[in-house]
Structure formats: structure tokens, C-alpha cells
Subunit: 192 residues, 2 copies
DNA sequence: GATAAACGTTTACAAAAGACAAGAAATGCT
DNA sequence: AGCATTTCTTGTCTTTTGTAAACGTTTATC
């Protein structure tokens, strides 16, 4: 299953076989049930995940409500970035929505890899550049678009995801209530 | 003025004097008037900026309105990231709100530096990590907080900025109209 | 120093979204 | 298959925000 990981990294940096061995040695395979919390509220985390199979969301809890801030599927890196970087307890919860297959990488191992593998900084730099563009687009959409437009963009960009994730999770992700999303959907259907 | 730049980078990576010379050689100093557009609408950009002095905002144009998406002050990197990375025409405008002093770095020179200076990938990786945390916090705030809370956080985080930027630019930055911001300010004053 | 432009606030009215509650439909579990 | 839970929709009422326009004030510019 680690081949799938390297297929992904090959898009950014070509590691030598020896380097891949070093990396593979610190990647741990993990298979978990739906509803597993990879990172729990107010707990520190020292690892990052690569999602091989399944679907994951990140959410915050505000006034007793779960507010989804991110939804991811196969072949993406996931982590409670804030907690990982600063060492503070995580305010975001990372939860599996389906049975998932993951690779985990400890932060300490990553730090070691930065010294062992010259291309590692380059890989992470490039991954972060991609991530940053995504974040920027998401943030821009919040500023520029109303909820209806955001919903349409989400559907256009990620059609399959709607069948995998309950609607009310999307609602909070769009910054609206489930009630409101239901009305928006109705409005869109009426036009089509 | 390049010392100020290296004071900043020293927080992340310690370059040797020789490396600093290489870097300094491709940094160009620039002094511009207020209202200068560093990146214009629908133009490609091939450089990134380090702001030594002054205040800059990024904005989008939507339905003839300017929507501010970012406001920055001294000692920050600025660029139309999307355009810089993908080579596409920029949808964001970068405008100086005050007379500014900048260092500019061409993308092509940066690519060369990645090969000349081992620590360059590391520097940019670390800068991107910081930036990502900022973006994440901004995005999270949009999902979690209402406009009033976002305004309060902005003021708490950056008290001085209010005196440097017109209120209606903040309003669009918060995702609301100037009218609405005025109401929010009134409400806050009434409580205090 | 005069004039124009930009800025901040306020008002009335319209549109959108939230809160709350009820009920239908789909899904999960044993 | 049957029961419980979750999910989705709908209705009514309230709150918030947007739109548009007016007005006084500040700031720029010549």
C-alpha cells in the first residue's frame, strides 16, 4: 500500500530507492473503523496522516455544535496542523466518516527525514504550496460568494462527495445551517 | 535595507554570508507611492515582494465592487500566489495603501536559488507553514464566527491597523458591507 | 483656502438566514 | 424484519444583513 503513497509523491519529487526505503520505514499502515477519531478534542497530536482509502472530516465544536471545517478523500495528507506545529492541544477533531486506510508519519520522524533526505524540504514545500492555493481559494470563496454559490462550486468540484457525507456536515462547512442548505437545494432544483 | 530582510529570515534559517550575498544579489529595492498597483487585474506576475515599510492590501473585483481579501504591514511577504504559481493572469489586485518600500524577488531567481542554496527549500517550507496556519485561522474564523466576532478578533490582533486602513475596506474583508460594519461598531460601543 | 472627492454614519425597506418545532424519509443495527 | 436513530424537509417567526439614498465630516488637491 505504500506504492500508492509514492505514486503521489512522485508528482512532486523523485526519490531514489534508498530514500524511499528510509521513508517507508517510518510510515505505519493503519486500518480503522468509521467514526474513529484520529485526533480528539483538546488532545495533542504528534503525527500526520496520508489517506489511502476512505473519507475524513475535521470539525470544531462551538456552542455544543459540530462545525465541519474540512472534508477529505483518498490521496491527501491530513493533520491537525496547528497542534502538530505548535504542540498545543488540538481544537479540531479529525474523524473518519467511513472505514479508512491510512499511513501515519510521526512528526519526530519527519524532522529526522529533513536531515536524511535532501528532497524532503522540497516535497513538503511543494505540498504546502498546493495546500495554500486550496486554502486561498476556499477563503476567497467565503469572502466573495454567498452560500448558494459556495454550494454550487463544491458540487462542481467534488460531485462524488455528496453521496458520502451527510448534508448537515456540508451545511456547517458552508457556514450555514442544515435548514438553510435544504432550502438552497430546493431553490436550485426549482430552477433546473 | 536588506539587513531588515535577513533579520526576518534568520528566524527560520541561518544562511552563511556567501548565501546571503547570493540572495541579496537578486533582491531589488523599490520605493513606490501610495495607490501603486504591484499586481494589476488580469496581468501575470513573476515576482514576489517583501514589505519593508508601508501597508498593502489585496482585493478582488466582484460586480464592480472591490472586495478586500488581505491586508498586510511591514516584514511580510506578499504575492499573487495563484498567478505566480500557475502562470495564469491574476484575479487579485495588490495595491499599496501608503508609500511603500519593498524588496522584489523574481520567480525565476527563486527557482535558481533553490538549487544554489540548500536551505532555501527549508526557508520557504517554514514560511509556508506559518502562512498556512494564518490562512487556516482566517478560514476557521469565517466558518465559526459571525461578523461581529471577526471584527473584534481583527482589532484585538492588529490594533494599529484600524488607523491605517479605511473602514469600508475592512468591511469587505470581513465579508460584510460598510453599512453593516458601522452598525456593529455602534453596537460594540453601546455595550462598552 | 476653496472645491471636489472620499469617508463614516444613519434611515427605511427588502431579502436572506437563523431558531425552533414538527413530521416524513432514509439508514443503521441486532 | 422491525425498531431506533439519523437525516432531510417544511412552516412560522425573528434577527441579521443588504440595498439605496441622504447627510455631515474629513481629507486631498490644485
Amino acid at each position: 500500500m505504500k506504492e500508492q503513497f509514492f505514486v503521489h509523491t512522485d508528482n512532486y519529487v523523485k526519490f531514489t530507492p534508498a530514500e524511499k526505503d528510509l521513508l517507508a520505514a517510518v510510515l505505519t499502515f493503519r486500518k480503522v473503523n468509521a467514526k474513529t477519531e484520529l485526533v480528539s478534542f483538546d488532545k495533542r497530536t504528534d503525527q500526520l496522516f496520508f489517506l489511502l482509502k476512505g473519507c475524513i472530516r475535521k470539525y470544531y465544536v462551538k456552542d455544543g455544535e459540530q462545525i465541519t471545517i474540512h472534508i477529505l478523500t483518498e490521496n491527501n495528507f491530513v493533520s491537525a496542523f496547528d497542534s502538530l506545529m505548535t504542540g498545543s492541544p488540538s481544537k479540531e477533531v479529525i474523524e473518519c466518516l467511513e472505514p479508512c486506510e491510512l499511513l501515519t508519519l510521526k512528526k519526530a520522524d519527519l524532522e529526522t527525514l529533513y536531515h536524511q533526505i535532501p528532497g524532503m524540504n522540497e516535497l513538503v514545500r511543494k505540498l504546502l504550496e498546493q495546500t495554500l492555493i486550496q486554502f486561498q481559494q476556499a477563503l476567497t470563496s467565503f469572502i466573495l460568494d454567498n452560500p448558494e454559490e459556495r454550494y454550487k462550486k463544491l458540487v462542481a468540484k467534488n460531485p462524488g462527495i455528496l453521496q458520502r457525507v451527510p448534508q448537515h456536515m456540508f451545511a456547517t462547512y458552508l457556514g450555514i445551517t442544515a435548514t438553510s442548505l435544504s432550502r438552497i437545494r430546493k431553490r436550485i432544483l426549482a430552477k433546473a
